[in-house]
């Protein structure tokens, strides 16, 4: 491995040898964790750095540096956007009304277009993950399910393939599928209301910036100088601030949260993290704006603080309903929701446990249905066994047939179950 000095410091440069590949991979993993650190950072914003980078992006969009209005959270941005409304009105995407010249578009539209074009050009410089089988050897994307990244190198897989699973995928699942939608749902106006301004995600752009940054620092992708400078500006914003809303002449920027709780998903091997706190907000900003999440699922506050049957039945999102029922406990839910027990049967393969099939009256879920209550085959850490409910078709009257249906089997087939763990 040779070390080369770049404007960002000393980076290993990939020269194709195995020892070099191992060094590059561990460097890439360190960079990935660094970017995850930025995405989940709770430090106060680095305002001078953020303002300098945002002014640089405005310059790329052909606009003079804006005034900056800092707010403590994305929730606090909305009143400011309303107060500064003329600067944040969105153009209508109708041919007859759209401005003809680039310079006449609002700065937010120009920035969105710059970002999108930059990402397209950067993506062209990075080779996609290989998908081909070679004889009996699966492509890395499949092999990665069972092989540690380091072992993949020893098995002859290419570093550039391994970086997709070692860097790109964990950043994406942890950031793009994690705090971004959770914060948007909890703190920004609901869909259907007229949105003001265009949201940019600052620290929560770390997934695409990190991916391209790692490729460049390892010397696996080279970007044209202009694109490298553009990427550096987006990266500087992601390292220094929370979400932001560019307007003409004024830019609203949110601080980062003051509290973030995550856990590695069970079995995570590549640094993945998901939002979770069983009692408190998983994300909290200085002004009290809060986002609740359980095991990676974003939920309304009541699911964590006060789940009730009435609230569960008023909740349209099935994932949220499931989370809430599990917090309440399936037994309690079945009692309080007034489900009618149709039949019980010993659970084949799960000695001492019973399957309980309930009828769900039409008024409960809006359509008649059945719920099968089963007991886990293995014990929880507290020694108890978790009950769980499965929704099954309304025509099934036999608990064993209902359990069989869930695996595509008949009742008679499922009755032969020898063991459940």
């Amino acid at each position: 491995m040779t070390a080369v000095t770049t404007p960002r410091g000393v980076s290993p440069r990939f020269d194709g040898s195995l020892s070099s590949a191992h060094a590059c991979l561990s460097f890439a993993v360190a960079l990935r964790d660094d970017w995850l650190g930025h995405a989940f950072s709770t430090r106060p914003a680095d305002r001078p750095a953020a303002e300098a980078a945002l002014a640089g992006l405005y310059r790329l969009a052909g606009a003079p540096p804006p005034r900056f209005r800092w707010v403590p959270s994305p929730a606090a941005a909305q009143p400011v956007l309303r107060a500064e409304r003329p600067a944040f009105t969105r153009p209508r995407l109708r041919a007859g009304e759209a401005p003809a010249r680039w310079a006449d578009w609002p700065v937010a539209s120009r920035l969105a277009s710059l970002q999108s074009a930059l990402r397209t050009r950067l993506a062209r410089r990075v080779e996609g993950p290989g998908q081909l089988w070679r004889r009996q050897r699966p492509p890395w994307s499949l092999a990665a399910r069972t092989t540690a990244d380091e072992d993949g190198l020893d098995d002859g897989y290419a570093l550039r393939d391994i970086l997709w699973t070692a860097v790109h995928d964990p950043l994406r699942t942890s950031v793009l599928d994690g705090p971004r939608p959770a914060i948007r749902t909890a703190l920004l106006p609901a869909a259907g209301t007229e949105p003001l301004g265009l949201t940019f995600h600052g620290q929560h752009d770390a997934h695409w910036i990190g991916h391209h940054d790692v490729q460049a620092r390892l010397g696996l992708a080279s970007y044209p100088a202009g694109d490298a400078r553009g990427l550096a500006l987006w990266a500087a914003v992601a390292r220094s601030a929370g979400w932001w809303w560019p307007g003409d002449g004024v830019c609203v920027v949110a601080e980062r949260p003051v509290e973030v709780h995550t856990e590695p998903p069970p079995g995570a091997r590549r640094g993945e993290r998901r939002l979770n706190h069983p009692e408190r907000p998983a994300v909290r900003y200085a002004d009290g704006a809060a986002v609740y999440a359980l095991y990676g699922t974003a939920v309304p506050r009541w699911v964590v603080t006060d789940p009730t049957v009435a609230r569960i039945h008023g909740e349209p999102n099935v994932e949220v309903r499931r989370c809430a029922i599990e917090r309440l406990g399936w037994d309690t839910y079945v009692d309080e929701a007034g489900l009618h027990l149709l039949a019980t049967a010993p659970d084949p393969g799960n000695p001492g446990s019973h399957l309980r099939l309930y009828h769900v009256p039409r008024h409960v879920w809006g359509a008649p249905g059945r719920v099968l209550l089963a007991v886990n085959g293995s014990a929880e850490p507290d020694g108890g066994r978790r009950r769980y409910g499965l929704s099954v078709p309304a025509g099934i009257d036999d608990p064993v047939a209902a359990a069989g249906w869930s695996y595509g089997l008949t009742g008679a087939q499922y009755a032969r179950l020898a063991r459940r763990t």
């Binding site: 069972t146 998903p265 079995g267 998901r274 929880e380 020898a418 459940r420």
Partner: protein
């Protein structure tokens, strides 16, 4: 009960985790022998079904690519948010796996073909042994919001 007790069946959960590097939650009993089952068995949201039991519901095309299950195992399914994998493990060279199985119910992840005992490991459910033979591995579904066949959804615990 089609539970065999061959010599290779005296494997404990501790042996399996040591052999594969996969881990399970601390409360699971590690020193008890993992039973080996020749018939139908379920591990959480997965079920292992002898192919013979399914008739022609699950088939493997003649040119399907098979992979030898490596020492680290084949991860069959992950739970929500990337967690809790079910991993198929076996002594090197004794078990094959293919993802290319056709299933009329659309639930099969693939088919395994074990010459010796293979195992399924899961962080919460522990380990279970699979006697030599051919099996389909299916995932679990539940009735979804919509109606009809495509109104169903998969379980991911």
């Amino acid at each position: 009960m089609p539970t065999s007790a061959s010599a290779s069946a005296s494997v404990t959960l501790a042996d399996l985790t040591a052999r594969t590097g996969l881990d399970v939650l601390a409360h699971l009993e590690r020193e008890v022998t993992v039973p080996v089952v020749a018939g139908l068995q379920a591990q959480g949201d997965l079920i292992v079904v002898p192919l013979a039991l399914l008739g022609d519901d699950v088939t493997v095309p003649p040119r399907a690519p098979w992979q030898t299950v490596p020492a680290g195992g084949v991860e069959l399914l992950r739970g929500v948010a990337g967690g809790n994998p079910h991993t198929l493990v076996a002594d090197p060279g004794t078990c094959r796996w293919t993802w290319r199985a056709g299933d009329r119910q659309g639930l099969a992840l693939g088919v395994l073909d074990a010459r010796e005992v293979a195992y399924l490991i899961h962080p919460e459910h522990g380990g279970t042994g699979i006697a030599p033979g051919r099996y389909a591995v299916r995932r679990q579904r539940e009735r979804g919001e919509g109606t009809g066949r495509f109104g169903n959804r998969f379980i991911a615990d």
